[in-house]
């Protein structure tokens, strides 16, 4: 896709403004200055999206959850409670920050800042438009997987440094769950890489554009794996055992208070926003929408899809109860991993058939979609019938009343036998 370079006033491609500034700098300054300036503009652009969106999302999440639970939600501060997040932020900044005596001072201070780094850094490879990303890496998918794995280290730092048993238990749970669900997420992305033949995030969007199809339709199970695997990695509600209040207080950030706690709270939303954006990019076509991206700014399309996915995340949170750790682990290792391996093989085979036999994608892709939906449905059905049967999950029932010994019948038999003598 070779678009003509956008004019600076063209809102459809904000890269035009960035290029105008850097070209102006390159006229009188050294090359490295122009390059650094490009990076700074990109970084500021990313932060300009994350910062205000975070504030709105806090309000949105509380409001939508409240509506789903038949409550009203925040409605006092500002019109319809819109200023609630600002009030919360001011309150958290003005709260006293406590640090336990037994805590490891240095490691205690670092995690609230460090946990934000991967959440912001993964925005770097997200394409907001045909050539609008901070860094269009050739191995963007690998970068995404690698950076989201850093979270585990920060969580362990936080859990260890507080010298609190609840925090340590919470951290260990999060680590066990995050690394387990990393496998399905990687497998789902690997299936896409096999099928599209590119590791670049923008390349996957361009593939969807070239074939006029969103990958969600061809790989439904990979989309489900990415969606659920991310909720587990983000510790959101179907999988928020790290913050099970009734068991381990606040999980791995039990001892954090004031703004430090606020950062742990905000990073969950920032991560969810980033994962929504990546889901929209990988499975819903990203900045592309059947030609509408020629008229509407592509970054607006991406943000709309991101908002849609964010609503799905809130919806999951409002609908599903919290799962137990053993349920989550068995769901990951006994369902997602085998099904992920199957879809890896399927994607590789379909790609090779498409290339080797030279089929027309317009004919082959619908057939592939039908086959893959069939396999996905069969996988769900098999799992529901066998591995997930309630008899296996529940403890075996007491059998005293039905057994040969004990129970009312046994007492009667005993009485009969006694009277017979």
């Amino acid at each position: 896709m070779n678009l003509p370079a956008a004019e600076w006033y063209d809102l459809r491609d904000l890269n035009g403004i960035s290029r105008l500034i850097t070209e102006w700098v390159a006229d009188w300054g050294p090359d490295w200055l122009a390059s650094i300036l490009t990076g700074v503009i990109g970084a500021l652009g990313v932060l300009a999206i994350i910062g205000p969106t975070l504030l709105i999302l806090i309000w949105l999440e509380r409001k939508v959850i409240a509506r789903m639970q038949a409550r009203i939600g925040p409605n006092r501060v500002g019109p319809v409670g819109l200023l609630q997040p600002v009030a919360d932020a001011v309150k958290l900044i003005l709260k006293e920050e406590l640090a336990p005596r037994a805590a490891d001072k240095w490691v205690f201070f670092l995690p609230p800042v460090l946990i934000f780094v991967p959440a912001i850094l993964i925005w770097g490879v997200l394409p907001f438009g045909p050539n609008m990303s901070v860094a269009d890496l050739e191995m963007g998918v690998l970068f995404l997987v690698a950076i989201s794995g850093v979270n585990v280290l920060v969580v362990f730092m936080a859990g260890w440094a507080q010298n609190n048993k609840y925090a340590l238990f919470g951290a260990m749970r999060v680590i066990a769950m995050s690394i387990s669900y990393e496998i399905p997420v990687v497998l789902s992305l690997l299936a896409l890489v096999f099928f599209t033949g590119t590791l670049s995030v923008n390349g996957i969007v361009l593939w969807q554009q070239a074939n006029d199809v969103v990958l969600f339709l061809i790989f439904p199970m990979s989309a489900l794996m990415f969606l659920f695997g991310s909720t587990a990695e983000l510790n959101r509600t179907p999988a928020d055992i790290s913050e099970a209040e009734s068991e381990i207080v606040a999980g791995y950030h039990t001892e954090y208070s004031g703004m430090r706690f606020g950062l742990f709270y905000a990073v969950e939303l920032a991560n969810t926003l980033a994962i929504s954006a990546f889901f929209a990019t990988f499975f819903l076509g990203g900045w592309w929408l059947w030609g509408l991206d020629q008229w509407v700014p592509s970054w607006l399309i991406l943000l709309a899809k991101t908002g849609l996915m964010y609503f799905v995340f809130i919806w999951l949170r409002g609908t599903l109860p919290r799962l137990r750790l053993d349920q989550l682990m068995s769901f990951c290792w006994k369902f997602f991993v085998p099904v992920g391996l199957v879809f890896l093989a399927v994607a590789a085979t379909q790609r090779t058939l498409l290339i080797e036999l030279g089929w027309d994608p317009a004919v082959a892709l619908p057939i592939y979609a039908v086959i893959n939906w069939g396999i996905a449905g069969a996988g769900v059905a098999i799992y529901a019938r066998t591995a997930a049967s309630p008899a296996q999950r529940l403890p075996s029932r007491p059998v005293m009343a039905r057994g040969r010994l004990g129970g009312l019948r046994a007492a009667r038999e005993l009485a009969d036998a006694g009277s017979g003598d």
Binding site: G39, I183, V186
Partner: protein
């Protein structure tokens, strides 16, 4: 290409500054005597639902955590081997596909073995 990584490096700097700002604001309000800072012995205790904490924090952990980490490392390394194949699939064609399928089959065999050995049960 390296320039792109440089841009990511700049983003990394901003990613550290961004969450630091509210912390710095909080620290500044403390020195402006707006935010309270009255530590005492009880406040700085380790939280333990209202009672004094007993024993060391480093308690024994379930062996399962170790096992899960081990299985994770196995699978992660094996999955990384598949990324080069995914990119080279067009050039290695059917031979490469069959080799890849055999590799995935071995992966699946390992999973079946772990399953049979009850390594995937979390009890």
């Amino acid at each position: 290409m390296l320039e792109q990584y440089g841009h990511l490096g700049i983003l990394l700097i901003f990613a550290v500054i961004f969450p630091s700002l509210p912390l710095i604001a909080s620290w500044a309000t403390q020195h402006l005597k707006i935010r309270p800072r009255v530590p005492n012995v009880v406040k700085e205790d380790t939280y333990e639902c209202g009672v004094e904490t007993e024993g060391p924090t480093w308690v024994q952990f379930n062996f399962r955590y170790y096992l899960v980490a081990l299985i994770f490392v196995l699978f992660d390394v094996e999955v990384i081997f598949l990324f080069p194949l995914a990119l080279a699939l067009d050039s290695v064609a059917v031979f490469g596909l069959v080799a890849g399928l055999i590799f995935i089959g071995i992966l699946a065999l390992g999973l079946v073995y772990e399953w049979r050995k009850q390594a995937l049960e979390w009890v």
